[in-house]
Subunit: 149 residues, 2 copies
C-alpha cells in the first residue's frame, strides 16, 4: 500500500493486521475473507479510505469492477458454483470493499444471502481448490494491470 | 422489453406482472422494489434471462454498472443516506439484477444488511422523496443513453 493513500486512524481496513492476501495492487488488494463456511469467499478492498463507489473516478471504478469481474470468472472456471453473490455494504466499516462469494445449493445459508439465517451445516473445504482459485485470480489481475501499462 | 430478449418460461423477472417502474431501456429496467421498511430500495433488472455478470459483454456490463452508479449518485443527492448498499445474489431467481439500497443508522436492520436480523421498527417514509428520486434517476439514465447514441 502506498504511503500517499488516504487512511482513517480507526479503520481496520486502512491498517490491516492479518490478511490472507491473493494480490496487492497500488490502489486495491484482493484477499480471502476466510469467513466460516466459505473458504473461497473473496474480498476486494480499495486501499484508500473511500466511502462509496461514486467517490471513485471513472478510471478507478473501472479497475475495481474489472477486478470484481475477474474474481467472478475465476470462481466460475475453477469452482463451478451454482451462483455467484456480490455485495458491497460498508455499514459497519464505511471503507469501500466488495464481497464475492461462490454459492452452492448445499451450502450453509442457501438460498439466503450469507448474512441471512443459516440453514444447515454446510459443505466441506478443499485447500487445493482455494489455492487454485487464488493463483488464477492473481494471474488474471496481473494481466489486466499489465495491459494498462 | 424487446421480443428478441431471451426469456425463461418460469421466471417472474422475465414475465413481470406488477412493477413500480422508474425507467425502461431496451436491455434493462429500473424499478422501485417496494420492500417493507425500504421505500427507496431500487432494483436494476437486466431484461434478458442472464445468470451472471460475466455472461454480459463488456459493453452490456458497462451500461448496467453505469446505471447502478447513477442510482447511487441520485440516492446520495436526493436522500443523503448514511450509506449505500449494493448486492446481486440471484440465489432464488437466477436472473441478473442489482439491489441498491439507501441506508440510515435508524433504519429497520441497521447495521445489518437488509437480509439480516431486523433490529427495530425503522423509519417513516416520504412519498415526495421517493418521487424526486425516481425523477432524478430517469433523467440521469436517459442522459447516459442519449450520450451513447
Amino acid at each position: 500500500m502506498k504511503d500517499s493513500v488516504i487512511k482513517h486512524p480507526n479503520c481496520p481496513l486502512c491498517f490491516p493486521e492479518q490478511e490472507d492476501s491473493i494480490t496487492q495492487l497500488a490502489s486495491l488488494r484482493i484477499i480471502f475473507a476466510n469467513e466460516p463456511h466459505y473458504p473461497c469467499f473473496v474480498r476486494v478492498v480499495w486501499n484508500a479510505h473511500i466511502r462509496e463507489l461514486s467517490d471513485l473516478s471513472p478510471m478507478e471504478r473501472s479497475l475495481l469492477m474489472d477486478v470484481v469481474y475477474i474474481v467472478e470468472r475465476c470462481m466460475r472456471s475453477i469452482l463451478a458454483p451454482y451462483k455467484i453473490n456480490h455485495a458491497s455494504f460498508g455499514n459497519k466499516l464505511a471503507h469501500l470493499h466488495w464481497h464475492i462469494i461462490p454459492r452452492w445449493e448445499e451450502d450453509a445459508h442457501w438460498p439466503n444471502p450469507v448474512w441471512g439465517l443459516q440453514q444447515r451445516e454446510g459443505l466441506g473445504h478443499s485447500a487445493e481448490k482455494k489455492a487454485a482459485l487464488g493463483a488464477a485470480i492473481q494471474s488474471a489481475v496481473l494481466s489486466r494491470v499489465s495491459a494498462d501499462s
